[in-house]
Each structure stands twice: as structure tokens, then as C-alpha cells.
């Protein structure tokens, strides 16, 4: 049983603070149920169970690899650990609730606890099955009255608990099956790839990300487009070699999916998802235009965290690039990298404008020009800052996460502020003031970072952590 204990402790090793907080929430929920004689507090225990299983899922995703399955009895102990989790997270609180006299809908509550745990596990594992809630949310948004009737009917039906248990069992089975299946590894794309469209086969923690057939097809499409872009650039370079084309070649290597066709493909895909979501869920609600623009900024800025992480992962492989380029000085090499990556700024501005444009169409925004102008200025300034901090910023995961949050939130706040400013003092004056603030700050940070990056020694060592 030592192995079961070790498996149950894994989430604490991975996320000690979060693990402790969730454990305290679970114990607090149980204590509140007993101490306050309040069976409804079981909802808190259920929430802790959901969080715990989400953490367990995240841990499993990085632990369950083919090599791990060489541990004797690994699957058996994993099943036992799951049973212990089930007993503590569902059976025990349910028994406490029954002992306290809370027998109202006990089977339904038990089934809901199980479903919450299963859903947490599925979400933590990163399975697309976590999207199964989407149809329910779409229904609730589209036909709220019908949804209420269905929920009331489900509460009364004796078939609901077994149905929920069945769904929970299916969720767990389908989430764990790809993890436990021993399969050949796929080759990885460039680590600088964006994960936002499921383009990476590895999560930031190095765990393989399971991909479905549709995602694999999209990935194949992106790879084909990247390959063609590289071939075209190579052909142009062979015909007429130039420093500019050399930079483009480096760019094709570092950012294989930031060529025009791939950008267009990405925009179409994101637009399709956003439009579907909007039509299904949100079309009845009133929208604040600043929310739409800020969301567009958020989507555009989501590209940069992957860049920071990817640059670290790619470092050992960049030695090849360094030797191939044979730069006169180390600073020249650093400059080549900077020049290649700088394309992300116009790409981000274009992306944000496209998403904002889509939002304008979807919500029939009253002041499209004000939104577009604000979005363009804020995106340009924020992209410069984001690129700068990911070039010279902290390397550890916590530092990078903090930087990501700060930059993204600041960009969204700037959009809100800028939108208000344009409304208050007019497009010309407001736009100029906003551009002065955003672009001078962004430019200042960018030029300082560029100088600092060029002064630094190129690094080709494997990142720690």
C-alpha cells in the first residue's frame, strides 16, 4: 500500500500550496458539516473534491508515461489510489451528510459529487472531453426556460443518479484511456509554437498532450503550410540572397506558423470558434464594447507566453542556427534573433484588429472606429512590451507566469482606459495621447530590452526547471 500512498501524495509534490489549500477546504467543509450540523455544506466538500481531482488529473498527465508503466503494479495501484480518492471525496462526505439527517436527494447528491470529481479529473488531464459541459451551457444560454424545466425534471427523476454515475464513469474511462495506452511518440513541432490552437504535443510541464483526429488534421495542415512557406523563402533566397531574406529564413525556422497563410488559417479558426460560441450562447446578452476589445487583446497577447517558454526549450537547438549563421559577433547573432522575432508585433496588431473587427460585427458595435483605433494602438504597445519581457525576463515558471499575468492584465486595462479617453476627448486627441503613452512606453521598454539582449551572451544550455 506504500505505492498507493505515494500516488495520493503526488499532487502535493507538484502543487504543494494548492494541494494544502484544497485539503484544508475539504477538511473545513467536513468540519463545517459536522460542527454547524449543516448537511448543505457538502457542496463545499464537492467543490474541494472537484479541485482535488483536477489537480490529480494534471499530475497524472505528467506522470503516466510509457516508462512509468514499467513500475510493477502501476495500474493496479493507480486504481486503488482512485478508489481511496472516491471513498474520501464522495463516500465519506455522503455518509456524514446521511448521519446528520440530510437524506434529501442523497443518491442525486452522491452522483453529482462523483460527476464533479470525474469532471475535475477530465479537465486536469486536459482531455477535450471537458468540453462536454459546453452543450449544456449553450442550451442554458439559448433556451433558459427549457433548461430550467429540464433541470427540475431531472431532479425528480429516479433515473438521473444512475445516468450521472454512468456519465462520470465514461468520462473517467475516456480520459484515462489515452494516458494509459502505450503508443509511439509523435515528433514534436517547434517549441515556439502556440498552444492556443492545440499545436503542441507537449504541455509546459513536458507532459504529452493527447490530440484527437481533428486536431491532428489541423496540425498537419499547419505543418504543410509552414513547409511550403519555408520552401518558397529558400527558393527566393537562392535566387537572390539578401540580409532581409536571411532574416525571413530564420523567422520561418523559429516561428514556422507565422507566415501569412498560416496566420490567415489561425484567424479563420479562432473566428469560427468565437462566432460559434457567440451565436450559441451570447447572442441574447447585451455586450459592452470594451469587453469585446479587451477580449481581442487577451487573445492576441496569448501568443507571447508560449514564445518565452519556447525560446527556453529551443536554446540547445539554437547552437545549430548559430553555427549555420556564423555571425561576425555574438551581438550580431542576438540581433538576428531579435529581427526575426519582431514580426510578432505586426502579427499581434493584425490579429487583435481582426478579432476586434469580428467582435464589432457580432455585437453590432456603435463605434467601430473607436474600438479599432484603440485596439491597434494598445496591441502595438503591449506586443512590444510582451516581446521585450519574454526576451530578457525571468526564466523560472513562477516568474514567467507573473510576467504574463501582469502584461496581459495591463494591456486589457490600457484598452479600457484608452477607449474611455477616445470617447472623452475625441478620436484625434485621445488617439494621439494614447499612442504617446502606449507606444512610447512600449518602444522604450522594447529598445531597452533589445540593447540588453544584444549585450547578453548567446545561451545554448538546456534550461533548468
Amino acid at each position: 500500500m506504500k505505492a498507493v500512498g505515494q500516488l495520493l501524495r503526488l499532487p502535493f509534490h507538484r502543487m504543494p500550496v494548492a494541494g494544502t489549500l484544497v485539503l484544508l477546504a475539504y477538511l473545513g467543509g467536513l468540519a463545517a458539516m459536522i460542527g454547524l450540523h449543516a448537511p448543505p455544506m457538502i457542496a463545499g466538500v464537492g467543490a474541494a473534491g472537484w479541485l482535488w481531482h483536477a489537480m490529480a488529473g494534471m499530475t497524472l498527465r505528467s506522470v503516466v508515461r510509457p516508462e512509468t508503466q514499467l513500475l510493477p503494479g502501476f495500474r493496479r495501484y493507480l486504481a486503488l489510489a482512485g478508489a481511496v480518492g472516491l471513498a474520501l471525496g464522495i463516500v465519506l462526505p455522503l455518509l456524514v451528510m446521511l448521519a446528520l439527517g440530510g437524506t434529501y436527494h442523497a443518491p442525486l447528491i452522491g452522483a453529482l459529487l462523483l460527476l464533479a470529481a470525474a469532471y475535475g479529473l477530465v479537465s486536469g488531464v486536459g482531455s477535450k472531453l471537458s468540453l462536454v459541459l459546453m452543450p449544456a451551457l449553450i442550451l442554458a444560454g439559448w433556451q433558459p426556460r427549457l433548461a430550467t424545466i429540464l433541470v427540475k425534471g431531472a431532479i425528480q427523476s429516479p433515473w438521473t443518479p444512475p445516468l450521472l454515475v454512468l456519465i462520470a464513469a465514461m468520462l473517467v474511462a475516456y480520459a484515462l484511456r489515452p494516458l494509459l495506452r502505450i503508443d509511439d511518440r509523435e515528433p514534436e513541432p517547434s517549441p515556439l509554437e502556440s498552444t492556443s490552437l492545440d499545436r503542441s504535443t507537449r504541455a509546459p510541464d513536458g507532459a504529452p498532450v493527447p490530440r484527437g483526429a481533428f486536431a491532428k488534421r489541423i496540425a498537419g495542415l499547419f505543418d504543410t503550410v509552414a513547409q511550403r512557406a519555408m520552401e518558397r523563402t529558400l527558393a527566393r533566397y537562392r535566387r537572390a540572397p539578401s540580409a532581409r531574406l536571411r532574416t525571413v529564413l530564420v523567422r520561418r525556422l523559429l516561428l514556422p506558423h507565422d507566415n501569412p497563410p498560416a496566420i490567415a488559417l489561425r484567424l479563420v479558426l479562432v473566428a469560427a470558434v468565437v462566432a460559434l460560441y457567440f451565436f450559441a450562447v451570447m447572442h441574447r446578452q447585451h455586450f459592452n464594447a470594451t469587453v469585446v476589445g479587451a477580449y481581442a487583446i487577451l487573445l492576441g497577447m496569448a501568443r507571447f507566453p508560449q514564445l518565452g517558454h519556447g525560446m527556453l526549450r529551443m536554446r540547445p537547438n539554437l547552437a545549430d542556427l548559430y553555427l549555420t549563421l556564423a555571425p561576425a559577433t555574438k551581438a550580431d547573432y542576438q540581433k538576428t534573433l531579435i529581427d526575426a522575432l519582431l514580426v510578432l508585433v505586426p502579427v499581434t496588431v493584425l490579429t487583435v484588429l481582426a478579432y476586434t473587427g469580428l467582435g464589432i460585427v457580432l455585437v453590432h458595435a456603435a463605434e467601430p472606429l473607436r474600438m479599432l483605433l484603440t485596439a491597434a494602438i494598445v496591441a502595438a504597445g503591449s506586443a512590444l512590451v510582451a516581446l521585450a519581457v519574454h526576451l530578457i525576463g525571468p526564466e523560472n515558471r513562477l516568474g514567467r507566469s507573473a510576467v504574463n499575468v501582469v502584461v496581459t492584465v495591463a494591456a486589457m486595462l490600457l484598452y479600457w482606459g484608452g477607449y474611455w479617453l477616445l470617447g472623452a476627448v475625441g478620436y484625434a486627441l485621445g488617439g494621439t495621447l494614447l499612442a504617446l503613452v502606449a507606444l512610447s512606453f512600449g518602444g522604450g521598454v522594447w529598445f531597452a530590452a533589445q540593447r540588453e539582449f544584444q549585450e547578453r551572451e548567446p545561451r545554448f544550455d538546456a534550461p533548468l526547471g
Binding site: 506504500k2 505505492a3 500512498g5 505515494q6 503526488l10 509534490h13 507538484r14 505528467s62 506522470v63 508515461r65 510509457p66 516508462e67 512509468t68 508503466q69 514499467l70 513500475l71 510493477p72 503494479g73 502501476f74 495500474r75 495501484y77 502505450i182 503508443d183 509511439d184 510541464d205 513536458g206 538546456a462 533548468l464 526547471g465
Partner: protein, 307 residues
């Protein structure tokens, strides 16, 4: 130029003891349309240290992963300790240790916690050995795995693989990331541990000096097939290189009985010969007006010639 010779036949181990740690028959494995293993037949007797050699892309890693059930096979059969192996599982896992080519598991875990975690699964675990190796190899048990260098991770993977004192230890390029000192220490440790009745080691490597130090049996994988598995001493006893040198050089290497491979380098013809017939070689040299020199090739020379 090469011709099959008795010494280098894969079936040469068919006369090996029945108690084989591993038997592979007609193993096929493809990735997409590329066939990597094309009918591997291989028997590894219990109690041997086997060095698996092969060029880059020969399929060494694929073969080792298939043997352990970590990569699904297309056709063929694998037996470990006399039982069919389809995928990892069962009690036999207590008897197997594995060091993968790259160790990238559990970057968020501390070394001590990782070893405790792993130990919990095994019926036996040599805690004293673990503690000693951590000290000797300067691995800080309080450090996170993600903060270890590649070499340190490889050391940890080796500690973790040998601590359960497995009957079969499979190592995929185990020393590639280690410094020479750690490599020597590892080989010494490995041999001390594994040179015991019933213990078998299979390790792939490019560093032929380590195989010589370990006095291992040599298995050569080429063109997706196992070419031979032979003790190094036996290879050395039977294989010689005849160097035939003449001023005008050679258009092609001449034939001689037992010739495995011949090539021309400068004015010399280099012939790798099994159990050379000295009389025939002398006659050849006289006929062609060449000087004759016989050399015992190093393992690296053999690898270059045969792989």
C-alpha cells in the same frame, strides 16, 4: 564484398543455454512507412552483459523499447524470462530495470521524493546502494529533478534502475551524458552489481571503450536485423585485419577465404577476415606484389567495418 561467415551468424547463439533472459523472433516494427526492424531474431542468455551496437538510426532504441513493451510491435514475438511480452505488466517488472535515452520525467519532484516514490512499487530496493550512489555521484537529494543537468538526470535514472537489483537491466545509451569519471564509476558499479548469477544487462552505446572495459558480448544491429551476438574476446580471437600494401594501390580489395569486408585506403587494401588462412594471405600478397601485415582490430575498428 562481405559474405556471411559462421562466427557472425545470428543463429550462432542458438546453442545458448535454454534459460534465456530474452528471446526475440522475427520482430518487425515500422514508423509510418519506414521499416526500422526487419525481422530481428535474437536470443540473450541469462547472466551476460550485452553491448548493443549499431549506427545512428539502426533501430537500437526502437528495439529496446519494443523488448520492454514500450513500443507496440507490428509482428513477431518477444519472450522475457520465458514468458511472452506484449505490454508492460505482471510480476516480471520487479525483475527489470530500464534507463531511457533521455530522462525527462517528474521535473517538479525532488530527487529524494522521486526515489521514495519509485521504491514504493518494488518488492526489493537497495536503500544502502541508493544512498551510496547519491553521495558518490554528488546528487543532491533535496534538489528538484528539473534543476538537474542532463548528466545528473542520467545518473539519477541509473540509480533508480539498479536500486531494485533487477535480473535484467536494459540501458539505452546510459553513459552518453556522463563525464568520463562518472562513466568509469558507473561501469564499475554496473559490473559489480550485475556480474552475478542470473543477472543480465543489455545496453546500447556508441562508446566502444566502455564495452571493452565491461568485456561485454557484442550484438550488432544493422539494416533492421541482428547481425550477430558474440563475446568480445571471441571476436578478437577470430577476426583479424590483413593490410596488403603495394605502391600502385588497388582498384578493389582482393578476395580471400573468410573475408567479411574489404576496402581500399590509399595504397593499402584492408581486409577484415574471419579465422584468416595465413598461407593463403601470404600467397595472395606474393602474387600481387604487396606487403602483408596482420592486425588485431579494436572494437571501434570492428564497429566501423561491420556496422
Amino acid at each position: 564484398m562481405s559474405s556471411p561467415a559462421a562466427l557472425l551468424q545470428p543463429s550462432a547463439l542458438a546453442d545458448a543455454p535454454a534459460a534465456a533472459a530474452l528471446r526475440v523472433q522475427a520482430l518487425h516494427k515500422s514508423f509510418d512507412k519506414r521499416e526500422v526492424l526487419r525481422g530481428v531474431d535474437w536470443t540473450v542468455p541469462t547472466g551476460r552483459v550485452i553491448g548493443l551496437l549499431g549506427r545512428n538510426g539502426a533501430g537500437k532504441t526502437t528495439l529496446l523499447r519494443c523488448l520492454l513493451g514500450l513500443s507496440p510491435i507490428d509482428a513477431g514475438a518477444i519472450e522475457l524470462f520465458g514468458e511472452p511480452m506484449t505490454e508492460p505488466g505482471g510480476e516480471r517488472l520487479h525483475r527489470i530495470g530500464f534507463v531511457p535515452q533521455t530522462f525527462d520525467l517528474f521535473p517538479w519532484m525532488k530527487v529524494r521524493a522521486y526515489l521514495d516514490f519509485t521504491a514504493a512499487f518494488y518488492a526489493r530496493w537497495n536503500h544502502a546502494l541508493t544512498a551510496r550512489l547519491l553521495g558518490e555521484w554528488q546528487l543532491d537529494a533535496r534538489q528538484k529533478i528539473g534543476q538537474l543537468s542532463q548528466g545528473q538526470r542520467q545518473k539519477l535514472a541509473i540509480v533508480r534502475a539498479i536500486a531494485p537489483e533487477p535480473d535484467l537491466l536494459v540501458l539505452d545509451e546510459p553513459v552518453a551524458s556522463l563525464d568520463p569519471q562518472a562513466r568509469r564509476a558507473f561501469m564499475t558499479e554496473l559490473l559489480a552489481l550485475m556480474r552475478a548469477p542470473g543477472r543480465t544487462v543489455i545496453f546500447s552505446t556508441h562508446i566502444t571503450a566502455d564495452l571493452e572495459r565491461a568485456d561485454a558480448d557484442i550484438a550488432l544491429l544493422r539494416d533492421g536485423r541482428m547481425q550477430f551476438t558474440r563475446p568480445l574476446a571471441e571476436l578478437r580471437r577470430h577476426l583479424q585485419r590483413a593490410v596488403l600494401e603495394r605502391p600502385g594501390g588497388w582498384r578493389e580489395a582482393p578476395a580471400t577465404p573468410g573475408l567479411l569486408k574489404g576496402r581500399v585506403e590509399g595504397d593499402a587494401a584492408l581486409l577484415l577476415v574471419e579465422d584468416p588462412d595465413h598461407e593463403a594471405l601470404r600467397a595472395l600478397a606474393e602474387r600481387e606484389g604487396a606487403s602483408l601485415r596482420l592486425e588485431t582490430p579494436s572494437l571501434e575498428d570492428l564497429f566501423v567495418e561491420l556496422a
